[in-house]
Amino acid sequence: MAPAQFEELRKLADFSFLLQGITFTVYSDGRGTERLFPFDLVPRIVPHSEWERIERGLGQRVRALNLFLQDVYGPQRILKDRIIPRSLVYSCRHFCRQMIGVEVPRGIYTHVAGIDLVRDSKSGQYLVLEDNVRTPSGISYVLENRQVMTRTLPRAFQLHDVLPVDHYPAELTQILRRISPRGGDRPVMVLLTPGIHNSAYFEHTFLAQQMGIELVEGRDLVVDCDIVYMKTIHGLTRVDVIYRRIDDDFLDPLAFRPDSILGIPGLMGAYRAGNVALANAVGNGVADDKAIYAYVPAFIRYYLAEEPVLSNVDIYLCSNPEHLSYVLDHLSQLVVKAVGESGGYGMLIGPAAGSAAIADFRERLRANPRNYIAQPVIGLSRCPSHDPSTGRMAGRHIDLRPYCLFDGERVVIVPGGLTRVALQAGSLVVNSSQGGGSKDTWVLRGDA
């Protein structure tokens, strides 16, 4: 394809995103400007055998994480058997005491999980970089990217046998229907959004529409006698299932942050009474804490008696004095992360950091070691990508976030996931807030 022709297609794709309002919000400029999520027309291709391995690895990981949550808020066998230190679990910021002893519908905590994978450029192996089992976002880009790609490059899909992804909303709806406490064929299900100013708002509207469920804000709901209702033009209607995209802290001002205006007073009471189902469950943050992460391979062995298919990236827990002293001596070669943060915030990338930033992190690590972990810099694999500044193809670093749905028995993963790409030459940071973009991910039916 000639560069001019490629450029034309690229503009067509961009225009399609703008027209549909597929944008995210940048807060740093104070105005909350909407931007297009940069999209790279060159797809990332995953052969089928590679995908099967990923699928198996993610399946066992999600089941183990769910069993860990059942256990830690229930009998706590894993603590009694000393597989993981009690102090590490209890000191986790997202460990939720209010959840101890709560029976969640069908025992499901991690209805939706987004597991971030990277491919080590040396070994060629996929490694797990992070688990996200609170309110992972990004699936709408997977679905929209695919739609724009099929419109822009229809012939490419005729030439390759690419596995479809568009059944995701139906699978998620199915799971939500199953957890309704009232049962019945037509439970009232809603998607709870913080509102129009949230950076993932587009995704919330997209999913609600695709799933055919009501998109609600906190102010649309009210709790009376432990029953959740929504306010309709003809009065109150009982709500059975809430797919919530609001963090735990903001869900219910009576149970958590009293200054939250996004939440619904009394929601936790209704949840604990079993009158409403929440997806994902409350308190999941204890499972995707970046220090707990170090123990997930042990969870897989402990709960499933299986060997992990996908390995972790090596990790140093700063709460461990030996690890801490190693990390302090090698700060300029390591990536340091705060354990409870996500989205690329609270991070130090040693090789790229100045001496002031390193000194700053040294102080922070000494002051609160439990709050930090460190990992070696992974040589992220690269994928051919279009560089808009030169108009040429060049290798750019990528990662992969597949979306895993868990119905209590099966883990369903739409083939592929969100491939994020660091569009700046040499950059390792793929977050959209820091100049990252995305690509369509093609899992092929065969290995060709």
């Binding site: 703008l18 027209l19 549909q20 309002g21 509102g195 129009i196 708002y201 919330h204 509207t205 997209f206 609600a208 529409q209 009501e214 998109l215 609600v216 804000e217 102010r219 649309d220 009210v222 709790v223 009376d224 929504m230 306010k231 309709t232 033009i233 003809h234 109150l236 209607t237």
Partner: protein, 319 residues
């Protein structure tokens, strides 16, 4: 099943779109009428335009006197005027964005592209070429909005809130146009200004009723006849009566009340206003005073809006 917040957004989305279109119509027609007039008549022409949109106070804190330039800028583009066309279109889109899961993809894309197009206009360029290009685009935008809405949304409760919002806004706007213009016309006639006829032609054109008037009355432009047409005509889509009837029809469809009953205060007030628009003659209205009558219409419209909100959007929840 319809969330109160969604009904609220549909209602206001339509109101803002109508406000943008009405403002564009008024600007467009009057600007071109003005070109044919003497500069002395400027003040008489431009002040009322701001008055019609109800933003005199905000305008006078910014400008000492009205000029074609500052009125156009203020009504079409100003970010400081929440009723400016660009701000209205922005509000249409903000409302649509909060309910985009509930409207058709086509409608959302139509609104979104209108918004992106409108914010691309450069005020200086438009002032240089005159308002027609911009205003015409807004009119098309509004027509497209309603066409797409009618053709892609289910004609359910939500659609009825959309219809009610548009009709209520339009009824109030027409009442204000007639009120302000009639007042000014009386003034200019007293001052011996022969431009009165032109003003009334402008009014008729701004509500797309000029040709209809000619056919209907085969007469010169007489203020009483113009008023009769714009206030009382049953089939003219921008007359007050036509729009109050539309509000009534939408509200009944939402509540399911029959022709001889009302389900809430908004319906009662709408029905009462519609009765008077049906059975009053223009002579009766002039006998009572046109201004008084139109002031009452505007008051009723505001009241109806408040009661729609109280009944459907912000009802008290006893929990």
């Amino acid at each position: 099943m319809m969330l109160s917040r969604i009904a609220d957004s549909l209602f206001w989305m339509a109101r803002y779109m109508e406000r943008a279109e009405d403002t564009a119509r008024i600007l467009d027609v009057n600007y071109h009428m003005m070109i044919e007039q003497s500069p002395q008549a400027y003040r008489l022409r431009w002040d009322p335009l701001v008055a019609i949109t109800g933003e005199q106070e905000r305008f006078s804190t910014r400008f000492e006197q009205a000029t074609p330039r500052n009125v156009f800028e203020f009504l079409a583009f100003s970010k400081e005027n929440p009723s400016s066309i660009v701000e209205c279109i922005t509000s249409v889109r903000e409302n649509a964005r909060t309910i985009r899961d509930r409207i058709s993809r086509e409608l959302w894309e139509d609104i979104n592209s209108l918004y992106h197009e409108v914010t691309r206009y450069n005020p200086e360029d438009e002032i240089a070429v005159g308002p027609h290009r911009f205003c015409n685009y807004i009119k098309f935008g509004s027509h497209s909005f309603h066409g797409v809405a009618d053709d892609t949304l289910p004609h359910d409760e939500g659609w009825n809130f959309l219809q009610a919002g548009r009709a209520l806004e339009r009824a109030e706007m027409t009442a204000r146009i007639v009120d302000v213009e009639y007042h000014k016309l009386v003034e200019s006639a007293a001052a011996g200004d022969a431009a009165g006829n032109h003003q009334w032609m402008a009014v008729l054109k701004s509500v797309a009723a000029y040709e209809f008037y000619r056919r209907q009355y085969h007469a010169g432009i007489e203020p009483e006849k113009v008023a009769e047409l714009l206030v009382l005509h049953a089939q003219l889509p921008r007359s007050i009566r036509f729009n109050i009837a539309a509000v009534q029809q939408s509200l009944r469809a939402i509540s399911g009340s029959g022709p001889d009953a009302y389900a809430n205060e908004a319906e009662r007030l709408t029905g009462k206003l519609h009765e008077s628009l049906m059975y009053d003659r223009i002579e009766d209205i002039f006998a009572r005073g046109l201004h008084t009558f139109l002031a009452d219409v505007q008051k009723s419209c505001r009241s109806i809006g408040e009661h729609i909100a109280r009944t459907y959007f912000y009802y008290a929840v006893v929990a």
